[in-house]
């Protein structure tokens, strides 16, 4: 067989394998979307197609979503999740941008210690924080009368502090990739240290900051354990709401799948609007180390 033909054939077979694998990968998601408009019995007995009603029309149960909205206060959870995750991203990105810049540009007493501490925080099991923070919140309320547990601020503070180290770690790579000469030139032009950061380094790091911010948002959106313990009925986020709902409707598979779909849609929208940044940003950070 001639060389080019063999290469063509190899390419073709790799493409086929890839498309089959793509199909298998996306199947659970397709099944989730499809099941959310089926009736619960069909899911339970494993009928993959839609069932037909007496007149022979296929039944598409759009009303599952209406049911979901009536049964669960989904609008509230959505609002809570957006407020908590959004504020967390703003605070954590502010802290970590400043810290990452400091770590990538200055070699100062304690900088190695701080870098190691950032990595070390990633090794600590979250459960170890959970109980002390829970009790600290209660004690704080007892001492000052200000409620913390069950408020937005409690969770936002915790999330910000938790996601900051990892984003410092990613962002440091972005700042390190910005040529120092640019900043030196700005210094010669008479900028002070902060102006150099604000006018030179920050604009160049924007793609990385956006990518890290989205990654953070996805992680915060996904957090269940802390939200479970530290929120109440009014400040519950989507994961906690879904967990409660699912616990109460053990055999309504259709509604569970509708809930799963609704929880996924907001992150999907964000991802597709900004996916260019994520792909560029996370991969750039990874390669530079």
């Amino acid at each position: 067989m001639p060389y080019y033909l063999r290469k063509r054939l190899t390419d073709l077979s790799i493409n086929i394998v890839m498309l089959v694998f793509l199909f298998v990968t996306l199947m659970p998601i397709g099944w989730m979307l499809f099941s959310s408009v089926k009736n619960s019995t069909d899911i339970a007995i494993g009928r993959i197609g839609l069932s037909r009603n007496i007149e022979g029309h296929t039944e598409i149960h759009w009303e599952n979503y209406v049911d979901l909205w009536k049964n669960v206060n989904f609008g509230l959870y959505l609002r809570n999740s957006v407020v908590i995750c959004g504020t967390t991203v703003v605070i954590a990105m502010t802290l970590s941008t400043l810290a990452a810049y400091a770590l990538s540009r200055f070699k100062f007493p304690g900088s190695d210690l701080f870098s190691n501490a950032i990595l070390a925080t990633q090794m600590i099991p979250a459960l170890m924080y959970l109980i002390p923070l829970y009790i600290m919140f209660i004690k704080f309320t007892m001492l000052t009368g200000l409620p913390v547990k069950g408020t937005f601020w409690g969770l936002i503070l915790i999330y910000s502090a938790f996601f900051t180290p990892f984003s410092i770690w990613i962002l440091r790579g972005f700042f390190a990739a910005i040529p120092v000469e640019l900043e030196e030139a700005a210094k010669i032009d008479g900028c002070n240290q902060f102006q150099v950061f604000w006018n030179v380094a920050l604009p160049l790091a924007i793609p990385g900051i956006i990518a890290t911010g989205i990654y953070l948002f996805l992680n915060a959106w996904d957090e269940l354990m802390f939200a479970w313990v530290l929120t109440n009925a009014d400040t519950m986020t989507i994961p906690v709401g879904i967990r409660l709902f699912v616990g109460n409707y053990q055999n309504r598979f259709d509604l569970m799948m509708a809930a799963a779909t609704v929880a996924t849609i907001p992150v999907c929208i964000i991802f597709f609007l900004l996916q260019r940044y994520i792909v560029q940003g996370l991969t750039a950070g990874a390669v530079k180390g």
Partner: protein, 322 residues
């Protein structure tokens, strides 16, 4: 203190005080993060460690740090005392966590590598396919647990319908959510959820490998297998070092997928589905054994620090050999 160390470092560096002064702005930039970490990382973690020496349960919780000090008793209960309540299911949880972490880390890396190699060619619709492959990674993990929990159902689950009714690979419908199969029921969804991230990073790494290396290998007559192991894999070392490091950490502390899959957020995952995190969570918040739970967390932390250190050391050695 700073004066003293300044004198010691005099020969090599400027005095510490002077260096601190020179880098004042760096400390200003770090200050907010330092404060946040002091109050929300260091302060709670010290309490968490101290808690592991206390007899802290539902009766003494109101006293919190003033609860009776019992020394190493909690560690004794976790490690040695066979009859203590926390030991129920602890061995299984440790075993499952080890299997789960290793298989998920290797699995995500392997699948990610294969797909990254497939995507690192020129073909029509490449960026669309790449984006579609990223899809599982944006599904929240609690949704992953919930979704696969229904897909693994014995009678109506998609997996059994496919394996038995469509492909006839198995003669009967196995039960995935009870018994020893559970470990697969948690490993496979986790790999499914996390491999796209590995793929993305490995793909970025692949694109930095200079083409000349492969051309040189072609001249030497190396086959694709040899080219992969002699060029591609070593060149990707910085990427997979990080992926394995964070894979080991995050999979050991995996929680959401297991907790949402079994009993949909409330059930016991069974002796082949329980992980360290779900085990300690249950001990702490359902059995109210906060002290022993904290002791188990401290032990887990020590093991984790050891593993990460070993991994760093191995990596350094491998780099020196190169």
């Amino acid at each position: 203190m700073s004066v003293l160390s300044g004198q010691i470092n005099k020969q090599k560096k400027k005095p510490v005080l002077q260096r601190i002064k020179q880098n004042r702005i760096a400390y200003v930039f770090l200050l907010p993060t330092l404060l946040a970490m002091l109050f929300l990382h260091i302060f709670p973690i010290m309490q968490g460690i101290y808690m592991s020496f206390l007899e802290l349960n539902q009766f003494t919780l109101s006293q919190y740090l003033l609860a009776p000090f019992v020394g190493l008793d909690n560690f004794y209960k976790v490690l040695i005392d066979v009859n203590s309540p926390i030991r129920i299911g602890l061995f299984e949880a440790v075993r499952n966590t080890v299997i789960y972490t290793l298989l998920v880390t290797v699995g995500t890396l392997g699948v990610g590598m294969v797909v990254a190699l497939m995507l690192n060619r020129k073909f029509f619709g490449r960026s669309l396919v790449r984006t579609l492959f990223l899809f599982p990674w944006i599904i929240p993990t609690y949704v992953t647990g919930l979704l696969w929990g229904i897909m693994w159902l014995k009678e109506g689950g998609l997996i059994n319908v496919m394996l038995v009714d469509w492909l006839h690979l198995l003669p009967f419908k196995p039960s995935w959510l009870t018994g020893a199969n559970t470990i697969w029921a948690i490993i496979i969804p986790t790999i499914w959820r996390y491999w796209p991230l590995s793929m993305l990073m490995l793909l970025a790494g692949l694109q930095t490998i200079p083409e000349e290396l492969y051309e040189a290998a072609d001249i030497d007559g190396a086959g694709p297998w040899r080219k992969f192991w002699m060029i591609t894999w070593p060149m990707l070392q910085p990427v997979w070092f990080i992926l394995i490091l964070f894979g080991l950490i995050s999979n050991t502390y995996s929680f959401n997928i297991v907790i949402m899959m079994f009993g949909f957020g409330a059930g016991f995952p069974g002796e082949w589905g329980d992980l360290m995190m779900t085990n300690i969570f249950r001990n702490s918040f359902q059995l109210w054994n906060f002290g022993t739970g904290a002791a188990a967390s401290v032990l887990l932390l020590i093991v984790m620090v050891a593993i990460v250190n070993v991994w760093f050391r191995l990596y350094k050695q491998a780099e020196e050999v190169r």
